[in-house]
């Protein structure tokens, strides 16, 4: 039964991947990508990777789809039908693929318990982590204690992305100097933007009821990560997605009033610093960086405290960076229409010069 589900899900994935290659309408492509994310997450559940499925569902199917949707709203939906050098690309792909297939031939078989992967490092995590770290979810204990430094790197990666997006997209708010046609255009665009949240009364009410529960659920995921799937990253994403929902239905300007830009930036920084400072405290107590047993007299209590704090740091950074990224995109879109028309005019001018 399990292998049947496995095969069916993989077949779905292949079908969708090929459909994505052929499709020209980017909106459809992105929706299929969302399905691809959901499917791979289901596959992860079938492969016992519940934490990964959690993350992939919220990130692969949720956040990245949403970001792409905002982007194509700015860049347009249809793809230029001509491909460049398809045969060269095909050749490269076939060579790479056959090399990989060649590499799989000596692999230990799928699911085999004798594979080296399950022999060398992993058994200690499975057998001893409960005594050494004291957390039932092994993934959490590896993530937050044994390989805490990787996770710190992960938090910094997401922080870097946030800063990068800000550096690229942050809009300096200027008073709109709008006259004549352009003013009418912008008013029209505002009208269209607003129309969504004026008409969908049902949506707004349901969302209003839903949002507190989403926040509650995010906190549950945050603090339940030790015992089940979940943790700071997933909680951060869920928290952020509630804010996205609010921003999408009630308009960016309303959301901006709730969430202040510089505050959220500081929050992102505070998350990283909270994570890092746990390490620094253990340094100051004379132990190695991220050695949580330095945090408390009882090593296990120290581990618990350390994991709790770093998960908080992760959640804090992830939620705020996701909000920063989404708001940067959405702001760019709302202010972008006039920016963009300027850009196109400039291009026209340049072309005329030549």
């Amino acid at each position: 039964m399990e292998s049947l589900i496995d095969i069916v899900l993989l077949a779905f994935l292949v079908g969708i991947a090929f459909a994505i290659v052929w499709m020209k309408d980017l909106l459809a492509v992105i929706m299929l990508l969302g399905i691809y994310g959901l499917l791979s997450a289901s596959f992860f559940v079938a492969m016992d990777a519940v934490d990964v499925a959690f993350t992939e569902a919220s990130v692969g199917a949720g956040i990245s789809t949403l970001l792409m949707l905002v982007t194509i709203a700015m860049t347009g939906r249809s793809e230029h039908p001509v491909r460049h050098k398809p045969f060269l690309a095909l050749a490269v792909v076939i060579i790479t693929g056959s090399l990989l297939i060649y590499g799989t031939l000596d692999m230990p078989y799928f699911g085999s318990a004798q594979a080296p992967v399950h022999q060398h490092v992993a058994p200690r995590y499975i057998n001893d982590s409960i005594e050494e770290v004291g957390v039932p979810n092994i993934v959490t204990s590896v993530l937050a204690s044994y390989r805490a430094f990787d996770t710190f790197g992960e938090v910094v990666v997401i922080f870097t992305a946030g800063m990068g997006v800000l550096a690229l997209l942050s809009v300096v708010r200027r008073p709109k100097n709008t006259t004549g046609d352009k003013a009418r255009d912008i008013a029209k665009i505002d009208l269209i933007n607003d129309s969504m949240h004026e008409q969908h009364l049902v949506l707004r009410i349901v969302t209003k009821m839903l949002i507190p529960f989403i926040f509650l659920y995010a906190f549950y995921v945050q603090f339940h990560g030790d015992y089940g799937p979940g943790g700071g990253f997933q909680a951060g994403v869920i928290f952020a997605s509630a804010i996205f929902l609010y921003a999408m239905l009630f308009g960016m300007s309303t959301a901006r009033r709730v969430i202040n830009q510089s505050f959220i930036q500081l929050l992102a920084a505070i998350g990283v610093l909270l994570y890092g400072s746990v390490g620094v405290v253990s340094l100051l107590n004379g132990k190695n960086f991220f050695d949580y047993s330095a945090l408390s007299v009882d090593p296990i209590a120290g581990q618990h405290l350390g994991i709790l704090l770093i998960e908080l740091g992760v959640g804090c950074t992830v939620a705020s960076v996701m909000v920063i990224i989404f708001f940067s995109f959405a702001d760019r879109k709302d202010n972008g229409q006039n920016l963009e028309s300027n850009g196109i005019e400039n291009n026209l001018k340049e072309n005329n010069k030549k």
Partner: protein
């Protein structure tokens, strides 16, 4: 019974994907994606039972949530896209 239900859901997923790929209109696709999402929620819940560890239903909750958010997202950002449907431009 669980297996029968799982199979039924897998079949429905095939149908939803077909509609999602075939289109022909944007709204058909959104409908298909939404349907696919709800079926995934069911599939995950069922998988938990099939594999004997049903306590991981948290994931299904997230799926339901994400599904809702993506549908709202698609509606929000395809409506006011600069490539609007012809009728909106008429307004």
């Amino acid at each position: 019974m669980l297996i029968a239900a799982t199979l039924a859901i897998l079949i429905v997923m095939v149908m939803a994907i077909t509609r999602g790929i075939m289109g022909p209109t944007l709204y058909d696709r959104i409908l298909a994606v939404n349907m696919f999402g709800t079926k995934t929620v069911l599939l995950i819940s069922l998988l938990g039972f099939v594999m004997g560890r049903p306590e991981f239903l948290d994931i299904a909750i997230v799926y339901a949530l994400i599904n809702f958010i993506s549908v709202i997202g698609v509606l929000r950002y395809s409506d006011s896209s600069i490539f609007k449907h012809s009728n909106q431009q008429k307004k």
